[in-house]
Each structure stands twice: as structure tokens, then as C-alpha cells.
Amino acid sequence: MGSHGIPRVGATFDKSEQARDKEWKQIAQYQALEKDVVGRVNAKDYSDATFQLTSQLLTQNPEYYTIWNYRRLILQDVFARELAAADHPSEQGAAAADKAGLPPAQHEILLLIKEDLQFLIPLLKQYPKCYWIWNHRSWLLGAATKHLLARGAVELWQGELGLVSKMLGLDSRNFHGWGYRREVVQAIERLSGGGDEGKGSGGLVEPEFAYTTKMIQSNLSNFSAWHYRSQLMPALLSSRNADTAARQAFLDAEFELITKALYTDPYDQSLWFYHQYLMATLNPSNAQAPPILDPCGAAEHLQYLDQEIESVREMLDGAEDCKYIYQALLEYSGRYLELAPEGEGKVTVTELKEWLRELRKIDPLRDGRWRDLEGKMKL
């Protein structure tokens, strides 16, 4: 939607006659350009001139998805012509292509794709949430993968990693950016003959994990980075051939990292979701969080519940008004008591009731949820 977060600027009424005239002229120009492009594509005029006109129109209106489709029709046509002409290369083209180490047709296709990727960059920066621009970029890379040798395609995809880092530098929560990053990484690993996830020569799991560390260090509140970090873990541990001890050391280091972060800002829900994730890897009933530890049974689960209930309880000191602490205590204690009903010494029902009472006081917005929790935990 074009109108998210648009404050009231340049309201559309009370315009001067001059402003109205100007707007009518803009409308007429836009419509003439649109008519020209549509007319040419309908007449199958896939010339360079038509292509340039689509650039003009898309620069004015990148949400006009049909024009992106037209642009791809033209590119497909050019690619097909280049490939058909490959048997009769011009001397000049052949020389340039030879220098680039590619057959002439592939060389031409590569140039066209590179040029179009370049065209998209200012648009992406101006409209970072426009699905169609990201979509077209992904199509171009797909076309490169199809038409070029793996080596040439991999180089292009690697360039994308730099671009997407730049985009995420501008908006570290842009979910188009994070989605594109996953796509780029998968493509590089696949094209580099990676075989096992993260293990191949193009294995990116270590640098990607380091990237999430960097993003988190620059802004703790970036849940997108924490989430991506969680997604990388299974491949990371398998690429490291992590044994029982290494896995436990890894999990402990992650707990240390998040606990430090929580001490910095216990009011940030991004951090609590990551803590919840680490705890979920120990909980066999959460199929969406694969285990980090190996073995990972009830004993390990109980040990970490015990440890983290203690750790979170200490966070209350000075943050008694922080609802997330009570929520975590209630959730983890509930699980603890399920696994060790005789362990009531560690967590008492009186304490649970007290935490719930505090939570209801601090967080009346979700009172319906806390009432349900009260019933569920039989408090």
C-alpha cells in the first residue's frame, strides 16, 4: 500500500489553479507514456526504445506490475535472439566475449542483466518495500542462473550479498531484505556445488552467523537478526561437526549472550523471544525449534529450566515492573513443574501466584490471557 505512514502533507484540496494545471499536465504526460508503452508491447515491439520507455514509466510508478511483466517479455525476447544468433557472432562481440571468458551470447546476456540490476538500485533505495522491484531482481538472477555458466552466475549472486547488506544497513528490519538474503545465500551454496547445507565450498553458514552477531551488536532490538541466527543453528552445528560438549558450550554461550542483552534492556520483547527460542530447543513439544544439544532429553531440559528460572529471577532486581520477566518465570516454571512435580521446593505455588498477580497489575491489556493462564496452571 502506498499510503502507510503518510502524514498530512500537501493535502489534495485547496489547490491553486496553477497547481491544478500542473497536476493535469502531469496526468496527461503519464497517460501518454503509459499508452505508448502498452501500445508497443501489444504490437510486440520489443525494441530497445520500448525497453527504455518501460524504464521511464517504472521510475515514475514501480508498483505498476504489468509493466515489470512487459520488461521481462522484452528481456526474454532479447535473450532468445542473442542465443539464436550465437552461431554467427560479430568479430567485435566475439573479441569482447573471449576476453570475458564467455561465449558471445552469454556475454551479451550478462551485460544486459548487469545493466538491469543497476537500474533497480536507486528504485530499491527509494521504494525498499515494493514487492515488484525485489521480485524483478530475483527474476533477473534466476535468468542469469539459467543462461550463464555457474561461475558467472555465482559472481552475480555474490554481488547481491553486498547489495542486500547495504539495504539492511538502511533498514535492519526490512523483511523483503531478509527474505532476499536467504534466497541469495541458498543460490550461492547451491551453485557452488555445496551438497550438504552449509558444508560446500560456497558454505556461507559461518559468515552468515557472524553477520547476525554484527547486526545484533549494532542494535540489540533487531528481532529479524535474532530470528535469522536461530535459523542458521542446525546447519552451523552440523558444519562444525559439533559433538556433545561443543553443542553444550554453544548453547551456554548463546544463553550468556542473551542474558547480557536482557540485563541491558529487559523491556525489549525481541530479546525475550530469542530467550524463548533457546528454551524451546530443549522442549520436545515445540517441533519448530530443533534441538541444539545432543543428547537432549528430559534431564537436560530440567537442568536448563532450573538454571534459567534462577537467572531470570535475578533480573527482577531493579526491574520489578517488567512484565516479560514474570511471563518468562511463569512459562518456564509451568514446564518445570510438569517435568518435576516433586520439585516444588524450587518454585512454590505461592510464588507463581505472586508473579501472576504482579503480571496482571502491570499488563492489564492482556488480562484475558492471564485469566486463561490462571485456569490452565490451576492457580
Binding site: W24, E63, S230, S285
Partner: protein
């Protein structure tokens, strides 16, 4: 129908207390009726690619406001049918390429204006053609592409499901015929988008996002797999994540640590309604937030107070109010975002 923002902005009339706020029904009706008269604005033309969506949003809002006939039916019918392509897909406006999203909106409009007979008259076998267009977009792994260019997204999968069910072409609605789509493969894909926090992302591995939660929960609901897949534990986990979207202002955000926005009243609220956890939100505060985003003089609802209104936020604000039982608004179906009395005719699994 114009998707141009404005002309007004969301605000509270001078001297009014939040508890005195009321939905200005007549103003919103007039606002929606006026949208197609704004051809002298450049933005009207720049947003042509959202025209069919705009009609669906405006018409749904009018239905919920109890004025389903406030836009002339003949004009709507003619316009929607003029967006139909030979392959059975609809474009966003006449001459625009076919896409699954606009096919979905078109079928929702045709359902609300009782237009399937007219569709069949214009294109014999029309309903089946539309269903075939959708079925052909399913990929080998269960996902759905948006169009022939292949972009996939859980939004498209949901669109495929609800559109086919409105047309009566979901496999459970035609038990004696071979299924035209692979429902188990599609729901398996949805499940692959499920995250540890209970939410769903746009693709496997992607962060949970309220908009995507709505499409995934909606798809499972239309397929009749929501209760069996999530169970009480899954619903509790998802409900917890969704309920944390409500901030002190009463408004809802789409992801942790993001700004509130009226449209999430719908994406979050409807998802909570589908998993029977709507009471995990503060309904009074949400109502007050939505009402502060309306323009009490010229109608329309904005994403946040002080921003410009538009028809997209207008319908999702009104639908949000319907969910929380605001007096005088018709009941909305949380999966279809259409009036419940209309979706009641759909044969569910």
C-alpha cells in the same frame, strides 16, 4: 475507485474525549462513494494497479456498515468483468495482467454482488475457467505462484484457497470429482513456514509476521486443518505472540518492536478470532485507537492518528471494529474478510 490517500487525516475532533468517540458511519460511506471522482489527482492514476483491490475493500466496508448498495451494482459488475482475461485470471484494472491476488478480490466482489450468473453469461464456463487459472499456478512443492512469472508467497496460497472455496472448487466441495489442486502439499508448505514463536513467515525460515500469520491461519482454516494442526498448545503459543502485538496506545503492530498500524487490527485480530483467543486483546483500547485514526469530518481511516486516510485502512479499521463487536457493524468472517451472512453459504470442510 481511488487508492489515493486523503484528502483527510485521522484525528480526534476538538474537545472530544477518547471515550466519547463514535464511528462516523455516514461520513465513511460518503468517503468511499467519493473515491472514484478523484480523476483530477495524479495519485488516482498512479494507483490504477490497485483498483480492483480498492473496490473489494470499499465494498466490504460498505457491507459491514450496513449500506451494501451504496455503490451502483451494474457499474461494479461491468468493471470487474472487464478485468477478466481469456485464461480465467483477473487483472487489477482493465488491460492489466492477470494475477492471483486480483483474481481473489474479483471473486470476492462477484460473491458480494451476486455476479456469478453474469460471469457465466459473459464467459460460458467462467467459474471453471477461473478455478483452472488458479489451479495451474500451484507448484510441485505445494506453493502457489502469483502469476506466470513465478513469484511465490504464502499470500498467494491463501488467495488460491479462499477463491476456490468461494467458487465451490475446493476438493472437499466436489468429493466426486478428481481434486484440481493438491491440498495436502499446500498445507504441508504452510506448516514449513511455522516458527518456534507460534507465528508464520512468508516462506520457510522467514521471521513471523502478522500479515503472513493471517494468510497461513486463514488457509488452514479454509482447508479445515486449523484445529487439528495447531491444537491447544499451538494456539496458546501463536495467541501469545499475537497478543503481544498490542501496545499501550491500544493499536497493534505487525512484528516485535515495530510501529502500530490500523491494518494490523485486522491481521492480528482476525487470526486471534480464528484460534478463539480474541479475548487476549483489550477490545476497548483497540476500539479507541481505531476511532482516533478516523477523519471525523470527511470520513476514511488512516494507519495512525495524524496520517492521511485511505480505503485500505478504512476497511481494515471497520473490520477490526466488527471483530470486537462494535455496535451497529455487521459481523465479519475472520478468514474471508467478508460479511458473515454471505460466507455462511460456503460449504466448509
Amino acid at each position: 475507485m481511488s487508492l489515493a490517500a486523503g484528502p483527510g487525516r485521522g484525528h480526534v475532533a476538538e474537545g472530544q474525549l477518547p471515550e466519547e468517540l463514535k464511528l462516523v458511519v455516514d461520513k465513511h460511506v460518503a468517503y468511499i462513494q467519493s473515491l472514484d471522482t478523484r480523476r483530477d489527482e495524479l495519485e488516482y492514476h498512479l494507483t490504477e494497479h490497485l483498483r480492483i483491490g480498492g473496490i473489494y475493500w470499499g465494498l466490504t466496508a460498505l457491507h459491514l456498515l450496513g449500506q451494501p448498495d451504496a455503490l451502483p451494482r451494474d457499474g461494479l459488475l461491468e468493471y470487474v468483468l472487464s478485468c477478466l482475461h481469456d485464461d480465467g485470471g483477473f487483472g487489477a484494472a482493465p488491460g492489466h495482467d492477470a494475477h492471483i491476488l486480483y483474481t481473489g478480490y474479483s471473486v470476492q466482489i462477484l460473491t458480494m454482488i451476486d455476479g456469478f450468473k453474469a460471469l457465466e453469461e459473459k464467459t460460458p464456463g467462467g467459474k471453471q475457467k477461473v478455478a483452472t487459472f488458479i489451479a495451474n499456478l500451484q507448484q510441485y512443492d505445494g506453493r502457489f505462484a502469483g502469476d506466470q512469472w513465478g513469484e511465490t508467497d504464502t499470500r498467494f496460497l491463501f488467495s488460491a484457497f479462499y477463491t476456490l472455496s468461494l467458487l465451490g472448487y475446493m476438493p472437499h466441495q466436489r468429493p466426486s470429482e478428481p481434486p484440481i489442486i493438491d491440498v495436502p502439499a499446500a498445507t504441508a508448505y504452510i506448516k514449513a513456514c511455522h516458527n518456534f514463536d507460534g507465528g508464520f513467515g512468508v516462506a520457510p525460515g522467514a521471521e513471523s509476521h502478522s500479515g503472513q500469520v493471517f494468510t497461513c491461519v486463514g488457509a488452514l482454516s479454509v482447508a479445515g486443518e486449523l484445529d487439528s494442526y495447531l491444537g491447544e498448545e499451538g494456539k496458546d503459543r501463536l495467541g501469545a505472540w499475537l497478543s503481544e502485538r498490542q501496545l499501550g496506545s491500544g493499536g497493534l503492530n505487525g512484528r516485535p518492536e515495530k510501529l502500530v498500524d490500523v491494518c494490523y487490527s485486522w491481521w492480528v485480530g482476525s487470526s486471534l478470532a480464528m484460534i478463539d483467543r480474541l479475548h487476549w486483546l483489550d477490545k476497548a483500547k483497540l476500539t479507541a485507537f481505531i476511532l482516533q485514526c478516523q477523519d471525523p469530518e470527511q470520513g476514511g481511516i488512516a494507519d495512525r492518528p495524524e496520517d492521511m486516510v485511505d480505503v485500505f485502512h478504512t476497511v481494515f479499521g471497520i473490520a477490526g471494529l466488527s471483530l470486537v463487536g462494535y455496535p451497529g457493524i455487521g459481523e465479519v468472517d475472520p478468514a474471508y474478510c467478508m460479511p458473515k451472512h454471505i460466507t455462511a453459504r460456503i460449504q466448509r470442510p
